[in-house]
Structures are given as structure tokens and as C-alpha cells.
């Protein structure tokens, strides 16, 4: 072999072979041979929530008044929230349970890392796959929203990249956390954190129902930023706060990926 350039010790060359697409390709092939039911359920879950709560509950509640004074139907209010929640759930499932299993039982990563693939390829590949799935569900859900007349502005189109950004953030952090998990019991903590976030992050009712300190607590949570971002886009309620929401997820992405890569290196190449 000639022309091999010596990388710095522990540099990014040792972590990344620029071949995350091979990991994505593997995941797509595995999905194709798996049963379709898991894939399909990811689409229907938020749709069922929307029908049950948006229509069912919505007929009792009536309209919701937004901070801008605009009045929207309850279904139009919660639909973007449900979209954000399903992006979170999908990303978290793929990056936690799925990764946890492959790491401890499937030995898949051991096999991958014996090749030229580096830990960063694995992390990026798994995350990109999770995002592709998330994007597919989001397209489905946004279509349902369009058919039901719940997209109130053209900016709803931007909800798709927004959902991918949100999913990326959750997947990156989810993988970082999973790399520390050793038992199934520890994995339950993830659910324990996610459920209250789902219920209280202004998904089903405006944040104004809470007292100020609790409002601040909710605003520190990633799901609140996700819900606000997606809702702003589908309802056409844009403001400078959108940049803050986007920034929140950029930080999650960078931090999560950096952390995951370091952990995978410690776990598999020590």
C-alpha cells in the first residue's frame, strides 16, 4: 500500500471512514426482510391520537385561542404537537431500544467495527436510518393533516425538514444515553422521562395553563421546542423564537453525536 497518510493519533480518521451509507444500506435491507407491521404502526399511532382527541375530544373543547389572538380548531392545535411527539417517539425508539439490542445481543456493532467502518459511521448511519423512517411517517401524517384541512399556512411544508431536525436531535441524544445502559431495567428510565414530557409539553393544551415556574421548566424540555417549532409552521405563526427552537436541536445534535462517538470508541475499540 502506498500513499497512506498518517492521521493524528485518535483523530477523526480513526473514528470515521466516510461510509455511514453502508450502515444505512444494511438497515434498509434488514427492514425489507422484517415484518412490515412495526413499520406501519409508526404511521398509524399519531393518526389514531389525532382522530380520537382532535375530533372526539375537540368537539367538546371547541376552538383554541393562540397567543397571537388567532382562533384555531382543537384538531389543528394538537395535530402539529402529535407530529412532533411521533418524531420524538420514533427517533427515541430507534436510537434506544433498537441500538441497545444490537449492542448487547446482536453483536452487530462488533462485526461492523472489525471492518474499516468507524464508530462515527455507525452512529451516523443508525441515526440517518431513523430519520429516513421518521421523514416517511411525517410525510404520511402531514398528508392526513392536509386532507383534514389542518394545515393553515404554506409554511406547513417546512414542517417536514423541521420534523427531521427534531428527530435528529432526539436520536443523537438517545444513542448517547443508550451507550451507558447495561440492563433492561435502566432502559425503562427512558420511558419514565418521555411519558410526562409527552403529556405536559403543551402538546394538548397551551402552556398558559401553568404557573410561571412550571412554564420555565417545560420550556427547558426538548419536546416543548419541537412542538412549538412544528406548530408555528403548520399554523403559520412565525416569530424570532423559531430560531431558538432550531438552535436547541442543533445543540442536541452536535452534543449527542460527539458523545455517542466517544462512547462507541470506548466501548468497542478500547
Amino acid at each position: 500500500m502506498t500513499g497512506v497518510v498518517a492521521p493524528a493519533r485518535g483523530g477523526v480518521r480513526a473514528l470515521y471512514a466516510g461510509n455511514a451509507r453502508a450502515v444505512v444500506g444494511r438497515a434498509l435491507l434488514a427492514t425489507r426482510s422484517a415484518t412490515g407491521i412495526v413499520v406501519i404502526s409508526g404511521f398509524f399511532e399519531p393518526v389514531f391520537y389525532l382522530l380520537a382527541m382532535g375530533w372526539g375530544l375537540g368537539s367538546f373543547i371547541g376552538d383554541v385561542t393562540l397567543p397571537s389572538g388567532q382562533q384555531v380548531s382543537y384538531a389543528a392545535f394538537i395535530a402539529p404537537g402529535l407530529l412532533a411527539v411521533s418524531a420524538m417517539n420514533g427517533a427515541i425508539y430507534d436510537s434506544t431500544w433498537n441500538v441497545f439490542f444490537k449492542m448487547h445481543f446482536g453483536k452487530l456493532y462488533d462485526a461492523m467495527l472489525a471492518t474499516s467502518i468507524g464508530p462515527l459511521d455507525v452512529a451516523l448511519g443508525e441515526i440517518v436510518y431513523a430519520l429516513m423512517r421518521g421523514a416517511l411517517y411525517a410525510v404520511g401524517f402531514l398528508t392526513v393533516m392536509q386532507v383534514l384541512g389542518l394545515n393553515l399556512a404554506w409554511t406547513a411544508l417546512l414542517a417536514l425538514p423541521a420534523v427531521v431536525l427534531v428527530a435528529f436531535g432526539f436520536a443523537a441524544v438517545g444513542m448517547a444515553i443508550t451507550s451507558y445502559m447495561k440492563t433492561f431495567q435502566q432502559m425503562d428510565w427512558i420511558t419514565f422521562v418521555m411519558l410526562p414530557m409527552f403529556l405536559f409539553s403543551a402538546t394538548f393544551f397551551p402552556l398558559s395553563v401553568y404557573s410561571e415556574p412550571i412554564q420555565w421548566l417545560i420550556k427547558a424540555m426538548p419536546l416543548w421546542h419541537a412542538v412549538e417549532l412544528v406548530r408555528g409552521l403548520t399554523l403559520g405563526e412565525l416569530g424570532t423564537s423559531m430560531a431558538v427552537h432550531v438552535g436547541y436541536f442543533v445543540v442536541m445534535i452536535v452534543g449527542g453525536v460527539a458523545f455517542t462517538t466517544t462512547r462507541l470508541r470506548a466501548l468497542f475499540l478500547s
Binding site: M1, N19, R26, L108, M112, A114, S270
Partner: protein, 308 residues
Amino acid sequence: MVAPVISARGLRKTFGEFVAVDGIDFEVPPGESFGLLGPNGAGKSTTMRMVGAVSQRTAGELRVLGLDPDTHGPEIRSQLGVVPQDDNLDTELKVRDNLIVYGRYFGISRALCAQRADELLGFAQLEEKAKARVDDLSGGMKRRLTIARALINEPRILMLDEPTTGLDPQARHVLWDRLFRLKERGTTLVLTTHYMDEAEQLCDRLVVVDHGRIMAEGSPSALIRQYSTREVCELRFGSERNADAAARLEGLADRVETLPDRVLLYTDDGEGLLERVARLGLHPTTSLVRRSSLEDVFLRLTGRSLVE
């Protein structure tokens, strides 16, 4: 002399207080079939992981294909084929897809992966299983698939960690045959084993490892010549009487080893020795003369048998 593909000097690996590999030196020239022979826990797998650039050494020098695994992990791994001790095939993929996807991890084009996958399925005698699920394969088939997978990047060194452990005798012979073919083609093989017969069949040269140290080094025949006699008499007197009999046999052979179930007499003339045993008035329930093996070398070097 040709530059070695692997060279280790004072190679050491510790996990906290535990010393897994305790300063070993060895070199592997290209095209050689090199073995690490030793009992479980001798540090063989740890050595393999360091050579395979998936585990960093604690101390010492290590060069694989002229490169330092600490800094050139990806370059080294791209030229290695690794067969780990436990099969880690992708159970979510079909047999042929396992080969193709693995090739893709090396950045090899899909078309080339497909072509090599078909060749390797032939080599591994798995053509008919191409579309089967991994879980439906027998142990021997999984092993052959793992070896085929390790060859997808046409590696310069094929590393096999305990390649036939857990396989039935027939499956082992099929596997040895495949590995022998690779050896004939000039592939450099590095393998660990705790089976004597495997080491004798496959290795041009080997090191005997125990407690993370190298006890001896040489070709199987040279090691046997150096550390054992040409022949061995195995006598069984019954577990109660082996020790007594051994005491009376002392001096009759070059060396006497007493194991719980038998007495081993090391000599260059086994048949002659059996006659002298009979003249002493000792009548073993069974007696057997065989050629010395690496098992005897290991026993001599460590005072223990390899497989217990």
C-alpha cells in the same frame, strides 16, 4: 528477508489489575500460517484483538502490515479478515446479503460485492443456502459463512479465533479443508486454538501461550522434537493404581507423567518399552503407543493438559 506482516515486541495488555498479555514477542512473515496455542484464558483472544486493531495495547511495540494499530486502525482493518470466536453474523439478513453488506462496510462497490459473494458462497459450500436465514444454518455452516464473510475484502491476513470450537468432528474436517485451501493459495493465516490436532494440521509455526506469556515457539514438528520424545506410551492401570505404577516405572522412560486417568511414558521406542513394562510384572488394563503430539509439548511446558 521479507518484511513481516505482523511484528510484536514486548506486547502487553492489562485490564485494571489483571494482566491478560504479559510482554510477548513474535513475528509473522507473509504467507505463513501462524498459530497461538494455549488453554482458555491464556491471552490469545486479547492478542488477536490488538492485532485486529480493535483493542489498544497497554505497552510494547506492535506493527501490522507495517502500520501502528493505535494510529492506523482503519487502514489495518481494511486489509484484515476477522473470524471472531463467537459468530456475529447479521441475523436480520439472509445468507448472501450477509456477505454483500459486509463487503459494503469496506466501501467495496455493490457489483463487486455481489460477484465476490457468489464466489465465496461456492468456496464455503453454501450456494444452496444463499437465500436462507442465518438462524436456520447449522453450526458448521455458520462458521463457514463467517469465514467467507471475512474473505470478502480479499484480506492480506485472515485472523481466526478458535475456528472450530463447538463444532462436531465432521464439520471440523470440512472447515480444515477450506482453511487448507486458503493456505495453499498463499493467504496469511493467524489462528488461535486450544486443539492440538488443529494446530498440527494448519500451522506452519506456532507459539505456545500460557498466562499471557510465550512458553515456546517453532514449527509443530520442531516443538515436538525439542520438548518431547518420538513416541509416547499411554498406560492405564485404573485410577487408583496409576500413581503406584508410575513410581515403579520411573527410570524406565526418558520422562514419566502421571495424569489422573493414565500414565504417559516418553520414549523413542514405544514397543520396546511396553515389553520392558511387561517384564517388570506390570499389567496395564489398556496400553497404547502413539507419536508425540503438541499436547505432550504443552504438558511438558506447563505441567497441565490443554483441554481439561
